[in-house]
């Protein structure tokens, strides 16, 4: 276990010992260790790297440190900047998990139920990755889809998120009232400058899904210059459009099993409510 104090030291430590695993909050990693599924040869602790524990502004974007905890992102000052990410962070588990779990960890673990992931997908966030060969940026969806993987010695250092200055909503459905993993989640963000609505659906597939056609269609209906509200029928249609895209019909004449039909209905409801709240 090494505890580097800077990103450079962390990269050096990982390069020196390629079998070592970086650990931040440990809420996923240590659970796997305890279950006997993972036995890392070494750990590089990221908890002392102060440069990734906060955020800074950079030409219309926020550069979020990968070490930001869910608890930190859930606070009102952060919620004023990126409301959907704050909402997802507040929903990300019980206080013990939120105090330890980090943004970077949520991205790298890439669990289908990771609550920040649909928000980052909807925001079209980029990851700033540092490694022995320097710094590069990759879209978050490329990492989640496996199109662009982290190379040996590389770390997610920052997440670059556009500041849209418009309503954003994150909603999730779970099996209980207390904190639980999402059965489905939806993030809706408005981008008035580009007259766009962006939506991502989490937990129904291995990575967040973007219903692009539904986004374009609904964005064309919004009156961006005046009251942005839409008729309830339009919201319902949007929800169903999103749900049909993300929980598709099986090929041929097969019927969806009842549990999957319920999942589709859940996605439709969440998308309708999320858009309604964003536009109200």
């Amino acid at each position: 276990m090494t505890l580097p104090a800077s990103l450079d030291e962390a990269v050096a430590a990982l390069t020196a010992m390629p079998a070592a695993v970086p650990v931040a909050g440990g809420t996923d990693l240590m659970a796997a260790v305890n279950r006997g599924q993972l036995r890392p040869a070494g750990l590089v602790g990221l908890g002392r790297i102060n440069e990734i524990r906060g955020w800074q502004y950079q030409d219309g974007h926020a550069l979020l440190g990968a070490g930001l905890t869910h608890a930190r992102m859930g606070r009102p000052d952060f919620a004023a900047l990126i409301p959907a990410l704050a909402a997802a962070s507040r929903a990300a588990g019980p206080p013990q998990i939120r105090n330890a779990g980090t943004l970077g960890g949520n991205v790298v673990t890439a669990a289908p139920t990771g609550d920040s992931l649909p928000v980052l997908a909807a925001l079209e966030a980029d990851l700033v990755v540092v490694g022995p060969l320097g710094t590069r940026e990759i879209p978050v969806s490329h990492l989640l889809a496996g199109r662009d993987l982290l190379a040996a010695g590389e770390l997610v250092a920052f997440v670059r998120v556009p500041l849209l200055h418009a309503p954003q909503v994150f909603l999730k459905a779970t099996g209980r009232t207390g904190p639980a993993r999402a059965t489905a989640s939806v993030a809706v963000v408005l981008d008035p400058a580009r007259r766009g609505v962006r939506c991502a659906v989490g937990a129904v597939a291995p990575m967040p899904l973007r219903p692009l056609e539904a986004e374009r269609w609904i964005a064309s209906l919004v009156d961006w210059d005046n009251d942005r509200g839409l008729a309830p029928e339009a919201l319902t249609a949007f929800g169903e459009y999103v749900a049909a895209a993300c929980v598709p019909d099986p090929p041929g004449d097969e019927q969806l099993p009842p549990a999957v039909l319920h999942l589709r209905r859940t996605v439709a409801t969440l998308a309708r409510r999320a858009l309604g709240r964003a536009l109200s």
Binding site: T174, G175, R176, T177
Partner: protein
């Protein structure tokens, strides 16, 4: 003899009103006092040593290899690689069991280690002792087992015709209960099919234990057993030792709503200690805990209720199928409860109930609080709702027309002789004011289904109110020899209770202290730790200890009292009955003569041992008839739920509970036990289901198995505690923990039914069963 609660102890132990006015003269000790548990502080601070905290010099660590398959033939087991690993001290398999190869609480049908055949996912195959826990786990992984996979029998309905999974056959028990006229019919008939899921006891502390070999060739097991003497006898038989060579020392119990640390856990541990000659410790992982211990029986129920036009029940026909898993365990007992209480606390002139418990390759089933009674309650209460809907009668009113009372017959032919204030309980919950709708509070403060800041939307939320009545039996049934032995010792004004009744969290040790305080007037009472060198007190299930062990403690304390007062009575020239002990003083009935307890004790050490054995019961006969139960407890619950009918998410807003408790011995403890029972019932109603796919447990962890959190636990209002003393019970008190577990799921289901108009015939209630159209 009827002693209504309203005149005695406050019926609302934690009502808000109690905060305003101080409680009237709550006693500080003795019966009726809210004495706190002696170890509560240590447990809250985390300093209380549980079995997993124990340590011994030269300790070895055990690990158990468990089957990854639900049904397989074991072709070969090769332990040589594991044995060759450095640090491994012993590897044992089925061939290394020196005594009997199988064990079981009622039928010895379960092998210590799977021998040739695996019958469920997680069945033990081998165990390893090594000098480090990681070495032990790696060694289990190095054991090579060749399996030949067999088709698992996972549908209990198919178990009847399937190839026998066990030499004893697939049918564990069949009870065909016949009561009354089979040709009777009612004007209104309602039918239903109900499914109950697999609840796990999910104790906070996973199983753990320490085995220490003894110089005499015996072994001591330090573990949280809840039935130490039975466990000792079963373990000794498998060790090939006499029972007195095995000693079980009961450590603190970290949560028990079923049996804990069953022999299947203790036997490999003891065998490893005997084999290595070293102390061996085993702490189960959460996954092993889920796979290894017994669960609630998944149950399939078919019902047909006949009623007259007024809604009075004429006949109940039912078929009840319990999935017992691979081994018999206590399924026969669970089936008896399910069949006997299949009609609920209602008067039913004619009843025809067929019950079966069958073997499958699903996870093992056994005793969890309210077993048997809970499954049928959900079904018969759904039938009562259906009947009310058919007749257009209010569901509470329909129930009121049918309630059981003292003197009525159960469908087993047994007369209800104990107090059965069912009508009073139902009236209490029905008349209690409903919780206010949150319309006057700011919208952001509403706790909607889905949680704070969740997806819930007020416009899609419907509120529902539902009722359920439940009953359980207390103590062992069907001829079980119920007996408990207790010893009380007094020296220098300090009393000690020695009784091997395990306090599972039921609060028995606190009650024992109160009983001795009450009888002897001694302030300081200690309860000795439990081990099997003490006389047996039986299992800590069915609320036994309040009754049987409490009775034994009281008798022993009375005997000590007589010993103490005899010389004084002789001196005063009056009977011991005319002397009173209070506040450390002995006073004659007229107050003229008095002395202090300390003076009378005068350094003497007084001992007495007594037994309590309630009146015997008889097994159900071939038509399900017989006086099978000693005592019954009843409960009425009104559930209020909010359902987001688009997402199908449910939040239980309030549970109003009225319960028949006989007599309140410790108000605070009683309230806590009822709250715990209701919360466990809410879990069974909404989220708790250990899911399997082809016999394999899918998510054996606390993320996949969703227990209720503090946000899921509803407001629990104890609206009435009826104190009608049961004359045959010591102190007249009834056990309080199980009956709210039995009744709550049915009440929640009834409320969701009312909110959504959906049938809700499956527990836990899945979101897709709680969605409704917004129109």
């Amino acid at each position: 003899m009827s002693n209504d609660a309203t005149t005695a102890i406050p019926t609302l132990p934690f009502a808000e009103a109690a905060g305003a006015a101080p409680e009237p003269e709550t006693p500080l000790r003795g019966l009726g006092a809210s004495l706190p548990q002696a170890d509560a502080r240590a447990k809250a601070e985390g300093t209380f040593p549980y079995a997993s905290d124990l340590w011994a010099e030269g300790l070895l660590w055990a690990a158990v290899l468990r089957s990854p398959h639900a049904h397989a033939r074991i072709v070969s087991v090769d332990t040589s690689a594991a044995e060759a690993m450095p640090g491994v001290r012993a590897v044992i398999t089925a061939g290394d069991v020196p005594g009997t190869a199988t064990y079981g609480r009622q039928v010895a049908d379960r092998p210590v280690f799977a021998d040739g055949l695996v019958r469920h996912h997680g069945e033990a195959i081998a165990a390893v002792a090594a000098d480090h826990p990681d070495t032990a786990r790696l060694a289990t992984a190095a054991i090579l087992v060749e399996y030949e996979l067999l088709e698992p029998v996972t549908d209990p309905e198919k178990a009847f015709a399937a190839e026998p999974l066990h030499p004893d056959g697939n049918l564990i028990r069949h009870i065909p209960l016949r009561f009354g006229d089979p040709d009777a019919t009612g004007e209104v008939v309602v039918e239903g099919l109900y499914r109950i899921g697999r609840q796990d006891p999910a104790p906070i502390g996973a199983e753990a234990g320490l085995a220490v070999p003894r110089p005499d060739g015996g072994v001591e097991l330090y573990t949280a057993s809840t039935d130490p003497h039975t466990d000792r006898d079963l373990a000794a038989a498998c060790f090939g030792l006499a029972p007195d060579q095995v000693k079980i020392v009961v450590t603190g119990v970290p949560g028990a709503t079923g049996d804990r640390e069953d022999p299947g856990f203790q036997i490999p541990l003891g065998l490893l200690a005997l084999r290595t000659g070293c102390p061996v410790k085993l702490t189960a992982t959460r996954e092993e805990s889920f796979l290894g211990h017994a669960h609630r029986h998944p149950t399939l129920l078919r019902y047909r209720h006949h009623a007259d036009a007024e809604g009075r029940l004429v006949k109940v026909e039912a078929q009840i199928l319990l999935d017992a898993g691979a081994y018999a365990d206590s399924s026969s007992e669970s089936l008896a409860a399910a069949v006997a209480f299949a009609c609920g606390p209602y008067v039913v002139p004619h009843a025809f109930v067929e019950g079966w418990a069958v073997r499958t390759n699903n996870p093992p089933s056994g005793h969890v609080r309210g077993e048997g009674a809970m499954q049928v309650c959900a079904a018969y209460e759904a039938q009562m709702d259906k009947l009310a809907g058919r007749l257009g009668v209010d569901p509470a009113e329909l129930r009121m027309r049918n309630v059981l009372s003292t003197g009525d017959l159960l469908p087993t032919g047994q007369t209800v002789t104990c107090p059965a204030p069912v009508a009073e309980l139902l009236a209490a919950v029905r008349d209690f004011p409903l919780p206010a709708l949150p319309k006057d509070t700011p919208e952001e403060d509403w706790l909607l289904p889905g949680g704070p800041e969740g997806a819930g939307e007020p416009g899609a939320v419907r509120r529902g109110v539902g009722y359920a009545l439940g009953m359980v039996h207390m103590l062992g049934a069907e001829g079980t020899d119920e007996v408990s032995t207790a010893t009380v010792r007094v020296l220098d004004g300090v009393a000690t209770v020695i009784c091997s009744a395990v306090d599972t969290g039921s609060g028995f040790s606190t009650l024992a202290r109160q009983i001795v305080q009450e009888t002897l007037g001694v302030e300081e009472v200690h309860v000795a730790p439990v081990d099997t060198d003490q006389p047996p007190a039986g299992a800590a299930t069915h609320g036994r200890h309040t009754w049987v062990s409490g009775g034994a403690v009281e008798r022993a304390a009375r005997m000590v009292r007589t010993q103490l007062l005899q010389p004084l009575a002789h001196k005063f020239g009056m009977s011991t009955e005319l002397l009173q002990i209070s506040d450390g003083k002995i006073t004659s009935y007229d107050g003229v003569l008095s002395t202090t307890v300390a003076e009378e004790m005068n350094g003497k050490e007084l001992w007495a041992t007594a037994q309590c054995r309630p009146h015997p019961t008889e097994p159900l006969d071939e038509s399900g008839q017989g006086d099978a139960f000693v005592g019954l407890a009843f409960c009425a619950i009104r559930a209020v739920v909010d359902v987001d009918i688009e997402l199908g998410s449910v939040r239980v807003v309030e549970m109003a509970v009225a319960q028949d408790v006989g007599r309140i011995l410790n108000p605070a403890q009683l309230a806590v036990r009822i709250e715990a029972g209701v919360t466990q019932g809410v879990g069974a109603a909404l989220t708790e289901n250990l899911r399997t796919a082809r016999g394999l447990v899918r998510h054996p962890d606390l993320t996949g198995y969703a227990l209720p959190t503090s946000l899921d636990a509803p407001d629990i209002r104890i609206v009435k505690l009826v104190e009608e003393r049961d004359v045959v019970a010591p102190f007249g008190a009834k056990a309080a923990s199980a009956v709210p577990v039995v009744t709550s799921p049915a009440a929640v289901a009834a409320a969701v039914r009312a909110a959504t108009g959906r049938p809700v015939n499956r527990l836990p209630i899945r979101p897709q069963s709680a969605v409704a159209t917004t129109a």
